[in-house]
């Protein structure tokens, strides 16, 4: 491979890893901080991607659109729409055990996928939405490398926001809920309300990730939001990187996306008639990787490090 194409490949790789890092940090808010189990990440991801696409694309007879809004409005819409869905699901399940949340989130993700697939007037159904433009046309940022910078900027922004939240009293309550729910309730904290806040924040971040994806890939179809890519990879990333640790989430996204890409390079060497088997083999490898991490190093590469409590003056 010559140098220029290698460089282009690297940029595309890092952009994907950055988008996954945003998703993994969203999951970290829900699972890592608070212990809430969401396996409907693909659903929130899809809502974000489609919202931003519909808000920003030019008019089309095939689906709702033609709003032609700027990129940042699209992203804000993506974040908001996903947060709203999170609010509804969170309200239903905030008082229940986390297993119920898991079942409810897998349900909502399936519903969203069914809806996108069947409501042609809104999303163009299985044919998908094409021609979503990269933002900032006419500026130096309108290039693959420019978009990588945009994604990195959002990764950094989300990272600092979440680090701040993690160290704040609010974050401390979330960790307390995760570690010992009855004790936190006894200390007078409303478990349901804090859980709901964390869940909605995480959902909003996932929606942002979806918006970033839409403008990077330029084309959306329901198949892109199968639970495998949207949900499972993000889980493996967070667990591998270290749940509870935002830096772990980012590192996990890069490492696991790297492993996933490498397995693709490896299976590409196989003859094309084995393409479907090769795809299955990659999923198998990632699945086994998850089990190995869970059994041998459940805390991940970068274990969680809660901030030191500031000693009170005597």
């Amino acid at each position: 491979m010559e140098l220029a194409s290698l460089f282009a490949y690297l940029i595309s790789f890092l952009t994907f890893a950055g988008i996954y890092a945003v998703l993994a940090m969203g999951l970290n808010t829900q699972w890592g901080f608070t212990g809430q189990f969401n396996i409907g990440i693909a659903g929130f991801f899809a809502v974000g991607a489609y919202t931003s696409a519909i808000l920003t694309t030019p008019e089309s007879p095939a689906y709702l659109g033609g709003l032609g809004m700027p990129f940042l409005v699209g992203l804000a819409g993506a974040t908001l729409a996903s947060a709203l869905i999170g609010l509804v699901i969170g309200r239903i399940t905030a008082k229940l055990r986390t297993d119920y949340l898991a079942i409810a989130t897998i349900g909502i993700a399936e519903m969203i996928r069914l809806f996108i697939k069947n409501e042609d007037w809104l999303t163009n159904g299985v044919r998908g939405i094409a021609g979503i433009e990269r933002p900032f046309a006419g500026t130096p940022l309108d290039s693959p490398f420019g978009y990588l910078l945009v994604v990195v900027a959002f990764v950094v922004l989300v990272y600092f926001l979440l680090e701040r939240a993690y160290a704040s009293p609010w974050g401390r309550v979330l960790r307390a809920i995760r570690e010992n729910e009855p004790a936190t309730a006894a200390a007078g904290k409303s478990i349901a309300r804090f859980r709901l806040q964390a869940f909605v924040l995480g959902a909003a971040i996932m929606g942002l990730g979806g918006g970033l994806y839409a403008h990077f890939f330029g084309f959306l179809s329901p198949e892109a939001f199968m639970p495998l890519y949207g949900t499972f990879l993000v889980w493996v990333m967070l667990i591998a990187g270290g749940s509870g640790n935002n830096r772990g989430a980012i590192l996990g996204a890069v490492v696991v996306w790297g492993v996933w890409t490498l397995t693709e390079l490896a299976t590409d060497l196989l003859p094309t008639e084995y393409a479907t088997q090769a795809a299955a083999l990659r999923v198998l490898l990632i699945g086994v990787l998850l089990q190995v991490i869970l059994v041998t190093r459940p805390q991940g590469i970068l274990p969680e490090k809660p901030p030191k409590l500031i000693a009170r003056k005597k």
Binding site: I92, D99, A102, E110, M111, N118, L228, V283, Q291, V295
Partner: protein
């Protein structure tokens, strides 16, 4: 009227499939305290094990059923001993993640071994019985067998849970884990029996689904949501509730095709589940929350 009766039959067939899956989910939740997300793929694997027996030994689907059930029970115990047992001592929610990963491992294994095309147990069209008494109602023999055999299996599970020592131990563990453990119930053996029953019933659900429709690597995964809905509706941790839940969800899903697009069938199961979670999260029969 005729249409409604016809759809009711389809609903009962689907309900039987869902009940078989939901009993397992419910028992695993009651005893191991986690929602087993690989259960849908247990169903798929059971169906494909059945396919192998049919293809290799030339058995009819009905004779492949017990073989698939035994095979899947063995696989379930092996998975538990190899993997789940090692992480059982941590939080139950780690088991949940692990089972989610196991779902994908099983599905990709199925794709590797059997391929990802649609397959059927038997080609050709089965002629339904026409019941002229009921205004020309058509009933497929397969459908009758599915409902009857699942009723038989349910009766078997009932007798096992109420009449045998092991069955009583299982109910005790599901009701009050600590009390059961201090009274000397062999936890490991109870867990293994749970996987045997859960795996065997999942295989039955998969084979029924394969007889009724077709085999596909995601057939179980797409059925998982209605199965969970059935388990929650019946009260999670309650095997008997799972049967009622399965029937209610199955019949509602089929009935809904009278009013809305069939593409939204899973949405009906989901809607019932959400309503249940809001108003009566413990389920109809007061499950172990």
């Amino acid at each position: 009227m005729n249409d409604i009766l016809q759809i009711l039959i389809y609903g009962m067939v689907l309900g039987s499939v869902l009940s078989m899956g939901a009993i397992g989910v419910s028992m695993i939740f009651g005893i191991l305290r986690f929602a087993h997300f690989a259960h849908g793929d247990f169903m798929t694997l059971g169906a494909y094990i059945g396919l192998t027996f049919i293809a290799v030994m030339g058995l009819s689907p009905w004779f492949a059923l017990p073989a698939a059930m035994i095979g899947m029970a063995v696989v379930a115990v092996v998975i538990d001993q190899l993997l789940y047992r090692r992480i059982r001592r941590t939080q139950p929610v780690i088991l949940l993640i692990s089972s989610f990963g196991m779902a994908l491992i099983l599905r990709s294994l199925i794709q590797l071994i059997w391929g990802s095309e649609n397959q059927t147990y038997a080609s050709g069209i089965q002629f339904p019985w026409r019941l002229d008494v009921l205004g020309g109602l058509r009933i497929k023999p397969d459908h009758v067998w599915i409902v009857l055999i699942s009723l038989g299996l349910v009766a078997g599970v009932h007798l096992f849970l109420t009449r045998t020592r092991m069955g009583k131990a299982m109910r005790a563990m599901s009701d009050n884990m600590d009390l059961a453990l201090v009274s000397g119930i062999p936890a490991e053996r109870v867990i293994i029996v749970t996987w045997i029953i859960g795996g065997a019933l999942a295989a039955a659900a998969g084979v029924f689904l394969g007889i009724d429709t077709r085999l596909h690597p995601v057939m179980g995964w797409t059925t998982l949501l209605p199965v969970f809905a059935a388990a929650i509706l019946g009260g999670i941790g309650r095997p008997y509730g799972a049967i009622v839940g399965g029937m209610v969800i199955g019949i509602s899903m089929e009935m809904s095709t009278l009013f809305i697009s069939a593409a939204y069938k899973p949405a009906v199961a989901f809607a019932i589940m959400v309503v249940m979670l809001i108003f009566r999260p413990q389920g109809i029969f007061k499950g172990t929350l």
